[in-house]
Symmetry: D2
Subunit: 467 residues, 4 copies
Amino acid sequence: MKSWREECGVFGVWNHEEASRLAYLGLYAMQHRGQESAGIVCLQNKAHLSHRGLGLVGDVFREETLEQLKGDTSIGHVRYSTTGDNLILNAQPLMANLLNGPVAIAHNGNIVNNAKLRHELQESGSIFQGTNDTETLLHLISRTKTNQIVPALMQSLEKIVGAYSIVLLTRDKLIAARDPLGFRPLVLGYKTNHKGQKSPVLASETCAFDLIGAQFSREILPGEILVIDDQGEKSYMLSSIPSPVDRAKAQCIFEHVYFSRPDSIVFGHSVYESRKKFGAWLAKENPLDADVVIPVPDSGVPAAIGYAKESGVPFEFGIIRNHYIGRTFIQPQQSIRNFGVKIKLNPQSAVLSGKRVVVVDDSLVRGTTSQKIVRLIRQAGAKEVHMRIASPPTISPCYYGVDTPQKSQLIAAQSTILEIEKFIEADSLRYLSIEGLFHAFGELPQTNFCAACFDGKYPTEIADGVA
Amino acid sequence: MKSWREECGVFGVWNHEEASRLAYLGLYAMQHRGQESAGIVCLQNKAHLSHRGLGLVGDVFREETLEQLKGDTSIGHVRYSTTGDNLILNAQPLMANLLNGPVAIAHNGNIVNNAKLRHELQESGSIFQGTNDTETLLHLISRTKTNQIVPALMQSLEKIVGAYSIVLLTRDKLIAARDPLGFRPLVLGYKTNHKGQKSPVLASETCAFDLIGAQFSREILPGEILVIDDQGEKSYMLSSIPSPVDRAKAQCIFEHVYFSRPDSIVFGHSVYESRKKFGAWLAKENPLDADVVIPVPDSGVPAAIGYAKESGVPFEFGIIRNHYIGRTFIQPQQSIRNFGVKIKLNPQSAVLSGKRVVVVDDSLVRGTTSQKIVRLIRQAGAKEVHMRIASPPTISPCYYGVDTPQKSQLIAAQSTILEIEKFIEADSLRYLSIEGLFHAFGELPQTNFCAACFDGKYPTEIADGVA
Amino acid sequence: MKSWREECGVFGVWNHEEASRLAYLGLYAMQHRGQESAGIVCLQNKAHLSHRGLGLVGDVFREETLEQLKGDTSIGHVRYSTTGDNLILNAQPLMANLLNGPVAIAHNGNIVNNAKLRHELQESGSIFQGTNDTETLLHLISRTKTNQIVPALMQSLEKIVGAYSIVLLTRDKLIAARDPLGFRPLVLGYKTNHKGQKSPVLASETCAFDLIGAQFSREILPGEILVIDDQGEKSYMLSSIPSPVDRAKAQCIFEHVYFSRPDSIVFGHSVYESRKKFGAWLAKENPLDADVVIPVPDSGVPAAIGYAKESGVPFEFGIIRNHYIGRTFIQPQQSIRNFGVKIKLNPQSAVLSGKRVVVVDDSLVRGTTSQKIVRLIRQAGAKEVHMRIASPPTISPCYYGVDTPQKSQLIAAQSTILEIEKFIEADSLRYLSIEGLFHAFGELPQTNFCAACFDGKYPTEIADGVA
Amino acid sequence: MKSWREECGVFGVWNHEEASRLAYLGLYAMQHRGQESAGIVCLQNKAHLSHRGLGLVGDVFREETLEQLKGDTSIGHVRYSTTGDNLILNAQPLMANLLNGPVAIAHNGNIVNNAKLRHELQESGSIFQGTNDTETLLHLISRTKTNQIVPALMQSLEKIVGAYSIVLLTRDKLIAARDPLGFRPLVLGYKTNHKGQKSPVLASETCAFDLIGAQFSREILPGEILVIDDQGEKSYMLSSIPSPVDRAKAQCIFEHVYFSRPDSIVFGHSVYESRKKFGAWLAKENPLDADVVIPVPDSGVPAAIGYAKESGVPFEFGIIRNHYIGRTFIQPQQSIRNFGVKIKLNPQSAVLSGKRVVVVDDSLVRGTTSQKIVRLIRQAGAKEVHMRIASPPTISPCYYGVDTPQKSQLIAAQSTILEIEKFIEADSLRYLSIEGLFHAFGELPQTNFCAACFDGKYPTEIADGVA
């Protein structure tokens, strides 16, 4: 139902006997970051072996597939992808056989100057298979004069403007790279292998480490290129940082608002705790007398707990979520109102009837879902319905790796809060302020974070638009 | 992970243009009652048309299938089923072409004297297709001397001992029947059809009504046979009630403890509220100083909320549940401990580290899952882990339509609470008492409920045993 | 394209380590006898294990399925089946668990008095699952008073009028039975097992023996019941033969005309040789000056070879058949004439241009396919097209296990040969005469064969019609 | 069973309302040229829309797929492909989005200097997706300085040594090209469209025209580039012809021996008639007293007919072929000898017993299949078995688009005819001589044909070898 979707999750592991199984599990733990394709590339006798497919991780991989992906180094990727025949061509990790051997890349982010780079490459004869911006990076690497991967990668990345957290595999190296502004998360950890050695592990989120029993070590730094091979680890920094605007880093605050799993530690903060604080601050900014606080499950739960604790209003699960949603769902034809929301969320009268209800959600994008939720809560007998959003109004699209609606479809870019309140038919609607957001988060001034979706201040040029 | 599984959900609708779509949605809302097969039979020109298959409702039915199941009356069924070639033969609704026309039956419950009845029928030449006890009822009906369905059904039911909530379809009648002790739930509601008439709807749980926008009217009474046809509704009561033992009704308390959806009203009580009360009473019976109360999600959530409110200890989502579990899941081979639980549940250090943790679950059957949960919570840094179960120890198998382990595998039937506490490695383990359960529930004395799984007092003879 | 289809093939093997694999191969060799469902039941520790499915043998069975069907005795079946939800319920072997153990039946043929028997059984309370006449036999067996399978089977068969070649499996016996008139073929052979013993094998056609390397021994006799168990083989004869009319046996001549594989020996004759003789006699009865003789492949090939040899006109493959026909085939919308035939058969100008062509087919049912073939041959440049049918005009439907069109759709039942000649647009059309057929076959007078489809003389009452 | 496999078939149609359906049917008729992948690209509003998949044409395309491939111009391709994850990347038509728009190529043949060209392209930064030589051509086109497709294609083709019959689609042109030596066939025809205009059609074989009702016009000439667009047709000739060796053309004689469908006209000859002539000449070169001539079906049939006619020995179908071979076939474990051949071919005693048998096959590659056939014929009772091969011994691999075994596995490259005769256990073995082959074919001297597989004389340099 959310129309603000993370585009990718990446994973990598070096020197572990069950490398592809760990990749599988790591992707599985990060399934929320991309549900339309999944892929794993492993290193086997200096060659790359891969399996990529459309669908959930659990559907794309079978026991027999993983059996074949033997080798002690793997990278993996989950993503949302586009439609049409080329679907599978966009599934990552992207692979190419360069003269010096195979290269596979898993990429989370978005190259802002992709259209220009792609056009230049096509003009000089490069052939593009898919529509994916990651392919541009592969071509840049292929076109460098050096046949050493680290300088080739550095030269290529210095031409790129945008967001990238990358895991790259050659025939003898596992490489992690994060753009100089650090838009997307990327973390390093270690898991002990069967010989008792510490195998380096890379992931978009720490929840992947939890599942596979790896120890979190540190974040890959903005602008860092970490090279892992048989000699150990070596770290490089990108020398020229393209187009920084008015800040030190541009880590995505929306990772904490909605994208990341609550049990991950992202940019040094617990996501669950951040959301609780957003909820608590929301209560502080907008005091209200009410009988019950309920979340829109599942993403609104931590903020609602924070709100309840701060406000003293009791927390309840007033809306029950049905998790048995299959791949396809058949709609009734006409006889059931607000059906799209109802199939997932059922507000229960036993909790809501006759009550003044505060309903807490993490964000509000188009408003249509919120409208249906308010209506359903009222049908369940609520006396008053007060919508509380644990983040500021979303007024600008994201160009850094998130699939967002155009500005014209962001209700807060087009309407006042009062108009939105009326549209969603709530007795009241309140958002968390930007200052409140960063105050609660403990990151004021917000010089290390990008909040362009809330404030319209893009940390890079965005001339190109988005692919 | 639960090894105490509800066996079925049933649904029926009369005189509605979208009958099969409503059945589909009703089954979808009751998917938790049976996830291994699903089926719908509809009435079309006095004939029966059916589609049954193995899998989730959303997988068994496609748009084109529902398109074919036209007609304004349908019944449906979800169930757990057995293995082997005959799987599909056991999928319900069961159907037969009797001389007087087609009969289809959807059954929730279990016939206790099935083996004896089946043997008698086979001796006189009846051929059984599956292993399902519902087939016995079909044969009994087929063998009656009358060719009228209502007396045939009543004569047949009077031979049966056990639990049954039945929805039955002939070529011109929709019939609901509930056994005299009322083990399993069965509710009647109404949904307005396109002509503005009130179409009767039957379901195991009210959450099915919520999804399709039907109004709950009343429960089908224990011993009632409700006949719906073009003449309207007529109610009959079974005259001879087989083998009642020491009580008025025997409604299943476990529906409130675990089976039913929290947003359903079952036996006149909100399941969500019951569970909150069980949790609150659990706190009252076993006071304890702690830092945080967390549920085992999702089934332990209401009880944990109740516990937290009663005890004053703050409620947190200390364990995050991953809902992206596919049909198959590939296990890692050896390197990850306690994996089976971890793939679904991730305790988060940010909430648990250094804390005295109360973890609330709805029930404890074998103890192996609880052990893993306790370990994971401790690995996440908890100082103390106190397991609280919002129901009494489960000491006896169920013979009334629930798939339970044998007595030898019920840990509470074999060990003292202290031994279990030690086995699951908790700092303390406490259960809710039976008296507390019914006190909290507001049903003391418990003359209307079966709690055989907790107290071993079976409301009927059980000579036969159950498969 | 043929609208005269055999309905089944049966197979059985006793005491061979690879019993289910042999069944698989035997069915595979008899795939032409039924392409819509396939099934195998094997005996494992006195229980029956089965796998049945819709589709070709090669699609229904996988390696892992056969792996599970272990045991040294199996029976199998291929058939055409009906449409709808009950499809799989009609797939054979049919199985039932009687009081004395499991019974599985594979049946080729048709019970002529099925409707009457079924009605009587239903009246006394039997429940039918499918629409299959074989189920009636199962019920008859189940209703007998004896609990010994051989008398039970004999009593049941004596109530049945019609065609049946049956292979039946109990928990300790493999039984073959053939109706008293011997409509359908059923043969016995032996294959040496791994211990060097001779394992009995049963099949509809000898081509099944060829593939598995078994030695043909003899035909099961009309009216014979052969019982195979650990004591060896015992043969019984049905004492009362129901409704014989004017002949000794009623073996189906159409098995030689079209159904059976040319490499089978059926009713003591090589099918390939019979067809060659039909073709030769056809040439003798209808001499004609021509340039080339071509078959309609594949079924017309042997007759065309016989015709060519007898007439001295050269034999050529003037029509090339494309064997890559998939499960579904997408039709062009409008721009291609006579497409349905063309997709399979391509007459080639190189052979036909400017020639007087004799085209030989095994039979002619509706005439529409023949019309298209004549047109295509003419388009390929033939000067004259003479259609020759190596069997008499088909004027009556079959009630003995063949899926035939109704009389109204048999062109020869409605039109003179001259009218058909005109309809199919041939320069001339000639059939083989009935006398010629049996003369060529070497079975004059035809007292041992049923030719009801050609002469309308049914060997039994047919009051019931056909299911 | 044949280990000498054609690698591709191509198709194209311009300006016909049912373009993709015609492509589907054309590919269907040429299924024998490639059974592992199939693809169609159509032109829709100046863009390309495609569907490609692994499997038979009838499985890759569904009605709904063809529905989407609307547009009045299409090209298509069938091929054998390699294994692994990249399978689908090699499926043709290959597509690329160049700066001047989309280009799609369907290619039959093989680029002999591919490795060198690919290495040069990679060195200057081109990224290859698959392992297919056709991709090299795409890169060459992309790297030309011109943005006009015709000069770009001509410049690219002039760098290529090898065999290619190509159909290419841009946003406004359909182009056919054939290499200067004309190794592979490519024909032009016309089909009337719904407006009564003549739509150009291209195909590897004329049998594709027969199925769709198109009129054969002429062959695309060796070295010709035919450009079809809204202005009509324009023909160009490649100016520099790379590496011709000692002959005018190098058309593949094996197309007549085995690859092409017998009902096609290839290089101006009827394939059926050629094979009959090969068989007749074989009889003339090796006279023998025998009782019966039988073909190895289906490919040996025309040669056997020719042999029989020339020798006067009667022709019979002594081996019956089972065409119901599914995708997978499960092997028996041990008890059946020579099974691999038997599952397809059943020699029948009725024809062979006691006879001196001449068995005619089109070619003999490894000898293992022939050995099994000889054994089976002998088991069927033949007194003598004489193998006759309607082509010369195959002694050299093909580098021009055929998947052949290495020289070491070509039995005739390693052994004398006498040794092969002994190996296959025949009473005698005779091949057709090369001179006989071309004499029968009517193309002596053979200056227009490549017979490198028989004589080892390659018409181009072959320095590179082939994958």
